[in-house]
Every structure is written in structure tokens, then in C-alpha cells.
């Protein structure tokens, strides 16, 4: 049994010479909640489209649930639920009719789960989709995906237009199905707090490149802000040092790995290390993006 739910190798997509996605190598373990982070236009949606076979890669390959996207798309879609970034659906159908419509495609779908999630998300099931508020339209998409009983959930900006209570409920549900059913959840977002709350793994995208991907705990434990004082402090960035900021006699270094070693090196060169502090996910993300620019 393959223990990786999503694996891509050198996956690339370009439109008229513009690189939307550049040689990314995603690895999403089975049963994990993976937050796919990036700014608008970073290439998250294009990557998701390639994973679902909606768009063909310009180069590279993708495997989802151990199957090749290029040749086994239908089998993948049978076991994958998807929430699109565009939350449009057939305007004349009610949520209840959309559920019935969706049921025909998935033999494993559970009516009990559908009922449970529709109650939990407080969706007006008899109202036409066009008459629903933006938040409720998003909830209908989520309901269709959750009720499907899929092995993999791919959610593209799933919390768009949701109020904080609904976001909270959704996060709770996602964590529950990941634990109870071993479902893999791959969700894109630019809401770092959401990712920080439930994700076990995170990947950072910017300008089509995957800047970093790892366990969230490892990312947080590796990145450090080191403050040092002294003369002739190094002012260059490197693979290890993402940024250097000078404030008077102090230098602030954002270090991506081996912070202790770097601090020890500064001390050996006569500097006084005054602080080694952890960084929040937001700060790490900003530093990575700034370095890339």
C-alpha cells in the first residue's frame, strides 16, 4: 500500500511562455492534513487543476492515491472529493437536488453523513442554489465533498465567504474526518491561521515554485530570529540565512536551519547573541516570499 496520497515530480505548467507552476515536487502523506499556502496567483489552483486532470501539465508527472493522473483520472475522481475555488453550481437546483445529483456518481456515498453535515453546517436544503448567500453556496460545495466519503479531499480556498463560526465548524469537521476515516486533506489557502490550526504538513508556493514543504512542527522548530550585537557582523543572506536586518548596533537574522550553530558562529566571531526567538507561520511565510523576490 502506497503511503503517499499525492506525489508530483517536476510538475510544471506554462501558458504562452509564462510559468504558472515550475517543477514542483509535492509529497502529501496518506491520512495527513496538508496546507498548501501561497499568495494570489502563486500557482496553487493550477497545481490543483493538474492533480484533478482538469489541466494537462506542460512537463512532469503527478500521482494521486497511487494512480497516474494522466491515465487513471476516472479512478482517481471516484475516490477524490473536490471543492473548487469558484463556488458556482447549477442555479436552479436546490442543495437537496444537488446532493441527489451528486449521489449518482459515488456508490460509496453515505446519506447519513450528508444529513449530519447539512445539519451541522446549517444549510437551507430546499432553497435554490442561486438564492443562497455566498457563504451558504460555499457550504453546499463543502457538503457535497464531505458527504462523498472520499479517501482524498482537495479543497481550493474552502473557507471563502464563510463566517468565523462556520470556519470553526469546518476546521473541526476536517480534523474529525482525517482522524476517524484516515482521509487525506489537501487544502489551499492564504489564511495562515487556518493552516496553523489544523494542518500537519505545509507547503509554501510563490510564483509557481514550491519554496518549502515539511511537517509544520519541523518548520516552526527550524526557523528562528536571532538578534546579535557587535562589530563586523555578517550582512549577507545565504541558503541558511533568509534575511538580515540592521537596527543600530543590532543585527536581526532570520535563519532557516541550524539556528544554534549559526548563533554559536556569531559568538565565536566576537558578537553577543541577545535573543534566539521562534517565528510564527506568518513571519516564516513572509520571509520566504521576500527572499524569493
Amino acid at each position: 500500500m502506497n503511503d503517499v496520497a499525492i506525489r508530483t515530480e517536476h510538475l510544471s505548467k506554462s501558458y504562452d511562455g509564462n510559468h504558472a507552476v515550475r517543477e514542483i515536487a509535492l509529497k502529501v502523506p496518506r491520512g495527513a492534513i496538508y496546507g498548501f499556502l501561497g499568495r494570489n496567483g502563486a500557482g496553487k489552483t493550477t497545481t490543483i487543476k493538474m492533480l484533478l486532470g482538469l489541466t494537462r501539465p506542460s512537463a512532469g508527472s503527478a500521482q494521486v492515491l497511487g494512480m497516474n493522473v494522466a491515465t487513471e483520472r476516472i479512478a482517481i475522481l471516484q475516490r477524490t472529493a473536490f471543492v473548487s475555488e469558484k463556488k458556482s453550481l447549477y442555479p436552479s437546483l436546490t442543495a437537496s437536488e444537488l446532493l441527489r445529483f451528486s449521489r449518482g456518481f459515488y456508490p460509496t456515498r453515505s446519506d447519513r453523513a450528508a444529513e449530519k453535515y447539512s445539519r451541522l453546517l446549517e444549510i437551507p436544503m430546499q432553497q435554490r442554489f442561486a438564492k443562497l448567500s455566498n457563504g451558504n453556496q460555499t457550504k453546499v460545495w463543502l457538503l457535497l465533498a464531505l458527504a462523498q466519503g472520499a479517501d482524498l479531499l482537495i479543497l481550493d480556498e474552502p473557507t471563502t465567504a464563510l463566517d468565523p463560526i462556520s470556519v470553526d465548524q469546518l476546521m473541526h469537521v476536517l480534523a474529525e474526518i482525517a482522524v476517524d476515516r484516515g482521509c487525506t486533506i489537501f487544502f489551499s489557502s492564504h489564511q495562515l491561521e487556518e493552516v496553523e490550526r489544523i494542518a500537519e504538513y505545509a507547503g509554501f508556493m510563490d510564483r509557481g515554485k514550491l519554496l518549502l514543504q515539511s511537517r509544520l512542527d519541523d518548520i516552526k522548530s527550524e526557523f528562528r530570529l536571532i538578534t546579535a550585537a557587535g562589530n563586523s557582523l555578517p550582512a549577507q543572506t545565504s541558503a541558511q540565512v533568509l534575511s538580515v536586518g540592521v537596527e543600530g548596533n543590532f543585527c536581526k537574522y532570520v535563519v532557516a536551519s541550524d539556528a544554534q550553530g549559526f548563533a554559536a558562529g556569531l559568538s565565536r566571531n566576537g558578537a553577543t547573541v541577545t535573543d534566539v526567538a521562534p517565528l510564527s507561520l506568518r513571519e516564516i511565510f513572509l520571509q520566504l516570499v521576500q527572499k524569493e523576490q
Partner: protein, 228 residues
């Protein structure tokens, strides 16, 4: 399930036009009783209304059946269901095609029975007259051709109105073009509503039917390669 969805989207249109197709000839007959119009021009009026209704329904169904399904906003939902794109294309086509044929059948039956009922000689009715049947079959095949063309263009352009507009331009433009070519260069180009050269009406109809299906296959090739 997808068949149900397509039927649900178009059923109101179908019911309205099935009713129109059913009542148009009987109502005209009732209005014309005693004037002799029905006896003299009934068959001609029937042919014209049949062709008109089929043509209108073909254009409208062609655009309706594909516009919502393949529009940019909902295609993400549809194409992430575990079915091939060809499945969605042909199911939508089959629903519209069945509705078009059902409306043609209703109109044909209502018209034929009306003519048979009001004609002085019941045997001299449209049902039994082969020339009449042939013309109606020709009109139905042409309707199918127009439907397939409109459906294919709507799928390819992924927009109902654009598909309808492009189809209407072809449907109304091609005969004018063919006539112009015939007049200027004395070359006879085939026109979809007419028999092809010296071929029999049956053979011509079969060829036009195949041409209509080619449009759908072409649309399938395009939509299977479309990047969403």
C-alpha cells in the same frame, strides 16, 4: 442521474413546445372550418408549421442543453465527477435529441390526424401519403442537423448565446453562400435542407444525418482536449 439533470433543465421548454406542437394544427383547423382553406392548403400549412417548429426547437434545444453544462462557472464541478467528458457530452445531446424527436412526433401526429379528420377523403391524409411523409422526414433530419450543429458549437464555445449565434450564422449563411457560388461559378454545393445532387432523398438524409453526428464527434474531440 446526469440524464435526470439534463431533463430537469429543459423540461419546461419541452412541455411548452410539446403543447404548441400538439395544438397548432387542430386550432388552425377549428378556426378554418367551412372556409375550404383546410382542404386546399391544409397539407402545405402543416409542412410549413412542422418545419418552423422543428427549426426553432432545434436551435433552442441545441443552445439550452449545452450552455449551462459547459459554461466556465460550473464545468469544474461537472468535470471532476468520475465520468469521461464524452459521457457528459453525449448524455446532454441524447436528452435534447429525444426531446426534439418527441416534439416532431407530437406535431406530426397531431397534424396528420387533424388533416385526416377534416379531409373529405380520410385515405388522402398525410399519414399515408408517402411524398408528404418524405418531406416531413427531410424537415426532421434538417432539424436534427441544426440541433447537432448548435449543440456542438455551444459546447466548443462554452457559451449558449455564442453557440446559438454561430449556428444561426451558419444555418442561414450557408444557403446564401451556396446560391452565390452556383450563380457565379455554376458549381452546385450541397445545401443541408436539400437532397444532394442526384442522390435519392433517403440517401441524402442519411448523409446529412452522418454529417450532423460528425459535429458532435468534433465537439467531443475539442472538449476532451480543453483545459479548464
Amino acid at each position: 442521474m446526469y440524464f435526470w439533470k439534463c431533463w430537469r433543465d429543459t423540461r419546461s421548454f419541452f412541455i411548452v413546445f410539446a403543447i404548441i406542437a400538439a395544438v397548432v394544427m387542430p386550432v388552425a383547423a377549428v378556426v378554418c372550418v367551412g372556409t375550404g382553406l383546410l382542404e386546399n392548403f391544409g397539407a402545405e400549412a402543416f409542412r410549413s408549421t412542422f418545419a418552423l417548429i422543428i427549426m426553432f426547437v432545434a436551435l433552442a434545444l441545441g443552445a439550452l442543453c449545452a450552455s449551462e453544462e459547459f459554461a466556465g462557472s460550473t464545468i469544474h464541478f461537472l468535470f471532476t465527477k468520475p465520468r469521461t467528458r464524452a459521457y457528459f457530452l453525449w448524455t446532454g445531446w441524447a436528452v435534447g435529441c429525444s426531446q426534439l424527436l418527441a416534439i416532431a412526433l407530437v406535431n406530426w401526429m397531431a397534424g396528420s390526424l387533424t388533416l385526416a379528420h377534416y379531409s373529405k377523403n380520410p385515405i388522402h391524409s398525410a399519414i399515408f401519403e408517402s411524398a408528404m411523409t418524405q418531406q416531413l422526414a427531410g424537415a426532421a433530419i434538417y432539424g436534427l442537423y441544426v440541433y447537432c450543429l448548435t449543440y456542438a458549437l455551444t459546447v466548443v464555445l462554452r457559451h449558449g448565446l455564442r453557440g446559438l449565434g454561430a449556428s444561426m450564422a451558419i444555418v442561414f449563411g450557408v444557403p446564401f453562400f451556396a446560391i452565390a457560388v452556383r450563380w457565379r461559378w455554376k458549381i452546385n454545393l450541397p445545401i443541408p435542407s436539400e437532397p444532394i445532387a442526384s442522390l435519392s432523398p433517403l440517401t441524402s438524409n442519411i448523409i446529412w444525418l452522418l454529417v450532423a453526428l460528425v459535429f458532435i464527434f468534433a465537439a467531443q474531440l475539442v472538449i476532451e482536449r480543453t483545459e479548464i
